[in-house]
Every structure is written in C-alpha cells, then in structure tokens.
C-alpha cells in the first residue's frame, strides 16, 4: 500500500463522513452530546489538508503524522482513540515492498489494541470497538488464509456493518452513553458508525479498479 492510497482513502473517508452528517449527528445527539459529527468532520478536514506534507512520506510515517494530527484536532473521546489507532498502526506498518495483506492486518490489529488499551474497553461495551474488534479479527483470519483482497474487503465491510448493528441492543458501559442504562438500547453507537464508514470507504477504494 502506497502513501497515495492513504491520501485517497483520507479523501474518501472525508466524503463519506460529510455524506452521513445526519446519521452521525443524530446518533450522538441521541445517546451522547451531539458533537461527534463535528469532531469527525474537523479531523477529516485536517487530514485532507495535509496532502502536500504527506505525499512524499512513507506510508508508516504518513500514518504516524495522521495520528498526531488527529490527536491535536479531533478532541473528545474519539480523538485520543483514533489517534492511538493510527500511531500504533504506523509503528507496526510493514516496510515498503513488504506490505502484504497479513502484515497490514497485523498493523491494523495493533491499532485496535491501542484503542482497547487507551479506552480500557473491549467488545460489547457499545463503542467503536464493537466494529473494530470483529473487523480486525476477521482481517487477520482471512489474510492468514490468503484470501484475495477483494474477498477480504467485502467480508470486512459486512463485518463492520454487523458490528455496528450489534451496538444497537447493547447497554453502554464506556463513553458518554454509559450513564444511560437501558435507555441507550435501540440506538447505534456514533463512534461505531464512523468506524464502519471509515472501513467501508477504505475497502471500497481498495476494491475500485
């Protein structure tokens, strides 16, 4: 994977976030404080504006810079979490020319682990991890089985979708919705929704001819 792919992915993610304003905004209004869309929009905008600065860097360096940028622009709960994801993923990122799907999956998994560590959270707590953990596990498994990129991308999009849907009937035990008890049930988690959008945007880009 080249840096140019990362830059294109950033643009695709930004577009996807902008297209889903209503959903992101209303989800966080329902069980949070209503700023998640604005945060994600600000973060995506900041990354897209880095194009020039990133284009000449290696993928690992670019991912690290992205993490740092998110750390200083996103804010909220998603800021340090997504920043940690990118910075940890960057650390594990395979060297140029060695970026096979399995090593990318392992780097991705390192990112997800960093979120778990930072957020002290796991599966089933009604957070972005309910999308990221299953996606990461499946990514590793399918890459180990040497499935094609296309197969993997489709599977991950489905997995993300499923993870997102799973958050609907969970009681939140982390994040702002944790106070809600049963009242959080019936609502998707906003952070899970953005992660699903991000994964879908990247997979679709990877699928494009």
């Amino acid at each position: 994977m080249h840096t140019s792919f990362i830059l294109d992915a950033a643009k695709a993610i930004q577009q996807s976030i902008l297209n889903n304003e209503a959903a992101l905004e209303s989800l966080d209004r329902e069980i949070g404080d209503g700023d998640h869309y604005i945060n994600m929009k600000r973060g995506a905008q900041a990354i897209v504006s880095m194009q020039e600065e990133l284009v000449s860097l290696s993928a690992a360096l670019a991912l690290n810079k992205i993490g740092l940028k998110l750390l200083s622009t996103l804010g909220g709960a998603s800021g340090p979490l997504l920043a940690s994801f990118f910075m940890s993923m960057a650390k594990q990122w395979p060297a140029a020319g060695k970026a096979d799907l399995l090593s990318i999956a392992l780097a991705f998994d390192a990112g997800v682990q960093a979120i778990m560590l930072r957020g002290k959270a796991g599966l089933g707590e009604k957070t972005m991890l309910d999308v990221l953990i299953p996606v990461s596990q499946q990514f590793k498994q399918l890459a180990e089985k040497k499935q094609t990129k296309a197969f993997i991308c489709i599977a991950l999009m489905e997995s993300a979708e499923q993870g997102l849907i799973n958050t609907r009937d969970l009681i939140a035990t982390k994040g702002r919705a944790a106070g809600l008890g049963e009242r959080a049930m019936g609502h998707l988690d906003p952070g899970a929704k953005s992660c699903q959008l991000i994964i879908t945007a990247v997979c679709q880009l990877a699928l494009a001819p």
């Binding site: 404080d33 209503g34 750390l71 340090p80 035990t173 106070g179």
Partner: protein, 334 residues
C-alpha cells in the same frame, strides 16, 4: 437557532478573545494551541491546570487567577481539549512543584489529559472529579461524571496550592473534596450546540430530565414537570442517598456548602427559589448549611435547568473555601 455568532468556526476563538480582553488584568490567551493562563504567574507553587469542552463558562476559564487555577485548556464546544493544549499550558508555566491536572471524569477528557500527562516531562498528577450522583449504575460503568462540584475542588486546591503545598498534598485535598461532594442536575430544556444548530434532545412542554449531564446527556429518568419543591426533593434525596453510600458520616457539628448552579437559561430568581426549597428540605434531614453559592457556574450553553451540589465541609475545606480568590467569575477577600 439564534445565537450571537459570526462564523461557526470562529465562535470559540472570538469568545476566548473577548474573555481575555475583558479580563486582561487577570488572564492572558495563548494561541495555537489555545490555552489561557494567569497574567502574573506565581512561582513556587503547584501549577493547577484544568480544562474541558467549552460551553460550560465560566468553568474553567473564569476560575483562572489568584487562589484558583493557573491555566485552563478550552476545547471546542462540548469537546475535550487535545493533549497539545495541556502540554503547551504546562510547559509555559514553570515552577519546581509539579503540575496538577483537574479533570472532569468523562472518557474524552480523561483520555486527552492522560495522553498529555504521559507526554509531559514535568512531574505531574491528576485529580478526576466525579461528583455527579445522577447515574445510578455508575459502579458498573466507567464511573461518575464530574459536574458543578468541580468548582469546589478547584477553589480549595487552588487555595492550598497558593500556600506552597506539595503536589501530593494538593491532590489529596482535591480528592477529599471530590469525595465529599455530590451533585445532581435537572434540565427543563435542551441546549443547542452552535455547530449542530438544533437542540441536542427534545423535552415535551411538560417534561423534565432528572439527572441530566452538563452536555445534555440523558439522565436518570424523564418525568412530568412538577412543582419546584418536588423536583428539588428528588435532587436532595439523591444526594443524601449518595452520601450514605459513600459512608459520609454527619457529626453534630457538621457544616455543609450548598451550591445551586444554573445551566445557563434559568433566571437567578428561580435559582434562589431552588436554594430556598433545598434549605427547607435539607433542614428536615438535619443538614446544617453554612456556606452557599448560587448562580451560573457550570453551565450547559443555553440549557434551562439547574443542579444541586452539597459538599460536606471540614475545617480544612472550609478554610480553603473561605480564603481569598481573584478570578473572573469568583472573587472575594481581595
């Protein structure tokens, strides 16, 4: 949504600029990353830094100054500040006593301050405030939220820090005050985040949200509007139940501080009515109130509603609450 704003993107900076201009005798504003700090930094004291999402003014910027905070890092509206702000604030103030962060216990605030603390090459510690007793199942979750009681923590620790106390001593006092303070809020209306342009939640014309968070997070339960005494009764009883759970024991000579905090759109007239109602009820429970604070101190933008906070004083807390303070929003004895 009708608000006094120019461009959405400029709200925060223009407002902070106005704050810094209006209180240029006390604070100064640093840009990129943004933070406010005392104009005349005291040396040889623990540096107290707080911060959090904006929209709760005067919290925290209004509490920078002698006897209280050294700096505050404002995030976007209702969005935790980012670690670079805390780092810049901490690094711009150098004393040899270390840095104490005062952080309201919200996932976002906790993680951003935590990352700042990890990155900071100065001795530091953190107090997490968690006075909100609204959320019933908080023991199963990541914990209680920090709300209006945070002011009492900032005031008392601020006073102690001024005496040259150590980082550990300041942290210990802050944690004691937090432990002895419980709060609960009620919303009559939602608030509207400028960038969202519409109310965060909807309450019917006859509904109120008991236990609401200061970002409009849903609370304990939604109920029909009732007379003030009934609403305040539920608040007072929630607080006293929380004290029991915390095993705060009341001596004959106990004293308390009662704080009635407005969320932004509730007139003082109603806040004082709540104060009167709360004192009546607390007296019935044998609680003795000897300190009070009534006003908009920890707001939720333009939300109508109020919170009740009760702090069980002891001689140390009382001394530090009473001591001189000179900030934009709280000033006495100097």
């Amino acid at each position: 949504m009708k608000k006094f704003i120019n461009k959405l993107d400029d709200v925060l900076l223009e407002s902070l600029s106005g704050f810094a201009e209006a209180h240029a005798d006390i604070v100064k504003l640093a840009l990129d990353p943004h933070f406010l700090s005392r104009k005349n930094q005291a040396l040889n004291k623990v540096v107290l830094i707080s911060g959090g999402g904006s929209g709760h003014e005067p919290l925290h910027v209004g509490f920078i100054g002698y006897g209280m905070l050294d700096a505050a890092c404002p995030g976007h509206v209702f969005t935790s500040p980012t670690p670079d702000q805390m780092l810049a604030a901490a690094q711009s103030i150098s004393t040899n006593k270390g840095v104490l962060f005062i952080v309201k216990n919200y996932a976002g605030d906790v993680m951003n301050f935590e990352m700042a603390a990890e990155m900071l090459n100065i001795e530091n510690a953190t107090i997490y405030t968690s006075d909100d007793c609204a959320v019933l199942n908080s023991t199963y979750t990541e914990g209680r939220r920090g709300v209006a009681g945070t002011i009492v923590v900032e005031k008392c620790v601020g006073s102690l820090a001024e005496t040259g106390a150590s980082l550990a001593e300041c942290k210990a006092l802050g944690e004691k005050v937090n432990q002895r303070t419980s709060s609960i809020g009620v919303a009559l209306t939602s608030c509207t985040v400028p960038a969202a342009g519409r109310p965060t939640f909807n309450l019917a014309e006859d509904e109120i949200e008991m236990g609401v968070g200061i970002h409009g997070e849903p609370g304990r339960r939604r109920l029909k509007m009732q007379e003030a005494d009934a609403v305040v009764k539920e608040c007072v009883e929630a607080i006293l139940a929380d004290w029991q759970q915390k095993q705060l024991s009341l001596t004959e000579q106990h004293e308390t501080l009662l704080l009635i905090n407005g969320f932004g759109a509730t007139p003082l007239m109603e806040l004082y009515l709540i104060y009167h109602s709360a004192t009546k009820l607390l007296k019935q429970h044998g609680i003795c109130i000897t300190r009070s604070l009534v006003g908009n101190y920890t707001t939720a933008l333009d939300m109508a509603g109020a919170s009740v906070s009760l702090c069980l004083l002891d001689d140390e807390i009382k001394y530090h609450w009473d001591s001189p303070v000179h900030t934009a929003a709280m000033r006495w004895k100097c």
